[in-house]
Symmetry: D2
Subunit: 290 residues, 4 copies
């Protein structure tokens, strides 16, 4: 997986804020003054006048690690202070550290671990955490630590505390790969990293539990899956990616689950890969995906 | 559009009822005894034991119009009385009479009329009824009568009465091709024909008004359309067909409407064509589509 | 269809040439110096080092019609002379003049004319030319001139001469909407406008005549359509857009044609709409589609 | 994976031959006389008159293992001798024995092994054979024997002889899961089992080597994969399943390979699952997929 999205001396600049004339030219100008060469640039505006502005720029700058601080200072002066924009500067070579939380279903987990091994997702996986012991052998077969943290039905706080001990400071992203427990608002506030979930329906259809059973009862002709950032509102977080597959009256609930599982793993893997490449920017209740 | 689904001396037999051993053999036996040759046969069972059974059989029987009564009597004796099954015998050559109700948007209407002219849907269109005069010239250009029946906001009953006068006894199917008025339960009970609607979302997501606006606000990555039979429960009728198209954060609400319109017309046209070929059988809140 | 792609005082700048550092910054700089505000920018490089570079920039410049000449001169100096790049400056409000050539099949033609009437494609259609008289009434129903130019089997040169008389200088694009005659190299050289064709297969599968018949014989499980620029090499021109639809062993050749026709009209309409918005740039035997 | 396709006392009957009136009724009659209850029935005719006929019937017959011989004799008398049809009787509970041949790419292999472990494909995998040692650990992690059979460039006959020793009599199906060697006609004649291959293009586009490279050069907007039975004519065997995924000018050849790999594994797994359920019947150069 080589190229400007992952190689040394390539950087990414994510800019967002209130739209106004001249942002693209200013960003290009600062980068060029600092000796960087723009390799690709993508931007989006929620409204040509008065909207929110988002830009993802990939550039090459020789000796980036030592020059990043200077570039950052120049950007702070011109984008931050003069234009009031937020920005993030990321070195492309740096892999995000991704923890995976999982219950018993293996399809999303295996797809992520296997893509990580093939280097299709620019991440490291420092740990997999599960409320069941079932998938330990599979995970350790990839030389990845597996931690079993049982969750008590009555009180999840002890489990969440243990999970936070494992995760805090150690990861840049938490992925719920069919993790069948609801995380508390406290957990989300404390974990210090964004959390991506895969929901096994085409949201906002079939929010909540048992979506395939309800899809069968409603007689839909397509089932789908949705990867989204987790917020306190269940299944209401900003959507990153969705896809669907055709089904028919012949398919049982088990058939829907089987067909849906193929969509779930593809949708989640795409969402995680995009997040790791900083292609996803939150815009309120929605996302911009570059 | 020739072939066993539409030619002379071909028939269709739709059978449904409680599943039990021997139905397929009995149906095949009766048809063969009566001199019919089975051309195709499709069946579905909601559950191998104790479920509901559905079968669509296409057969050839020389001189079908004069022999249909005898075949019907034999089926009544063997399927109706002995097995307690419902059945419908249809001559394939007979086109369904389809009335189209429409408001101002032309895309679903024109798609149906084009396909009818091209003989892609086995129907005649004896009339188009609209609560607006806008599409009269387009409809009459196809040599199809257009009736303008305005609908008063306060009281729709006068309009529904006029619509019923036009429709009752004259049509086998009513299609709502983006007709933006809700039909009353009384209308549905009296019209004497099934009613198919196209809803501009992937149901059950975005039930009700303004689905594209709400899709934009929720940030979905696909928009869709759903063709369903109309029941008294708004947007809850049995789904016949659905499809989706990919969208992104770049798409405005107007873009979603434009992209969605292409899905709407395809989905509605497929649903109407299948209904006209008796491929759709209702199964409670869902459908079997052969 | 309002917005930066079609409104007054919006412009598009298409830049292409050998890639080198600093192009994005230079383009942004010139536009900003001239008082233009960049609304969106998309660029592509065939290779980060030594490849070909393409950029499409949309900008707003108050009073664009009177200031276009000055902007053009500035771009010529900085992009043309200093960087050796080709560029094209287009006013967004200007509709492309598109002639449609057609034979007997109506589906692609009607889809284009209807989208033009709905203002979904930013074009005018000054004429439709056909080698058959069949579709004259349909075309004139849209208030568009229809010219019948029969083509002799033995010698097409007289017909091509008549077509050139109609087209030369009057159109910016020629669309072959299922026009079943092969155009000569001389015609292509003289007509003075790009030509887009819809081929009724997923190229490069089933190049040449009878693709649906051959698809049936080969037993493919999907059929497709391809919109491409026409070159002297039959069905080898740069591909703009493709799509497919699922088929099965049950589908006859006529069924494939019917299902394929839905793909053909969508694919061609998308390709024409993108061309009219200058989103398609040729890159040798391929295209960049922004 | 329970249900009529895999449970005890369920059977499948595959019938094929020249079409003629009464086949469906005869098959239904024989099964009913023998005490079997038809659970589902699917049939296809290449032409209503004078075509080829195919039927797949699933039935329940108590104590099937002991009664299969009697049923077979009855079918032989009525279908074989009287109607000149070929038929195959299969017990649903019996898993097909599937050998997988693979080279270095792991994606199709792992997808099949995961699904086998999850019981999504009704098969056993008695062995994986590879011309490279790379994937041995992965395979043995599933408790499946892995045999490394190197193939000499100059002369493959020694390797094929060793493969035949492993395979003959031990397997019901051979799957080439990105096995990058061409099998000889002698091998195919001797192996005594059908062979399914996954080709990494949407056939008949890009027959032969390097399809992704050639797809990039041709500038296609979709890439695909094709699962087909292997015949002596390279990439010309009957197609079982195909699918595609959207790509753009931004995708490098490596990107096409990565995106295509997801299609390859889905298409191959579907084809193998369908074959194992006897849903695929060859019809000359094509297939019927029930």
């Amino acid at each position: 997986m080589s190229g400007p999205d992952h190689d040394e001396d390539y950087g990414r600049l994510i800019v967002q804020g209130a739209d106004r004339p001249g942002i693209v030219a200013t960003v290009s100008g600062v980068l060029t003054e600092q000796g960087a060469n723009i390799v690709s640039l993508d931007q989006s505006s929620s409204d040509p006048s008065g909207g929110r502005f988002f830009q993802r720029t990939v550039f090459h700058l020789a000796d980036l690690p030592t020059r990043a601080a200077g570039l950052n200072a120049a950007l702070e002066a011109r984008l931050g202070e003069q234009l009031g924009l937020e920005f993030r500067l990321v070195e492309a070579r740096r892999r995000k550290r991704v923890a995976i939380l999982v219950s018993r279903a293996d399809h999303c987990l295996l797809d992520l671990l296997w893509r990580q091994r093939r280097d299709e997702v620019h991440m490291t996986v420092p740990m997999v955490v599960s409320n069941h012991p079932d998938l330990g052998d599979d995970v350790r077969g990839f030389d990845i630590p597996f931690f079993h943290v049982p969750v008590a039905k009555e009180d999840k706080s002890a489990a969440e505390k243990e999970q936070l001990n494992l995760l805090k400071g150690n990861v840049d992203l938490v992925v719920l790969a069919r993790y069948m427990q609801i995380l508390s608002g406290d957990f989300l506030a404390e974990v210090g990293a964004p959390v991506i979930n895969i929901h096994h329906s085409f949201l906002p259809a079939f929010i909540g539990a048992g979506p395939y059973q309800r899809a069968k009862e409603r007689g839909v002709k397509l089932v789908g899956a949705t990867a989204h950032y987790v917020t306190e509102d269940l299944d209401e977080g900003p959507i990153i990616e969705q896809d669907v597959i055709r089904v028919s009256h012949r398919d049982s609930v088990a058939d829907l689950q089987r067909k849906g599982a193929d969509v779930e793993r593809l949708v989640l893997s795409r969402a995680v890969a995009w997040h790791c490449d900083d292609r996803v920017v939150r815009d309120g209740a929605t996302t911009v995906v570059f």
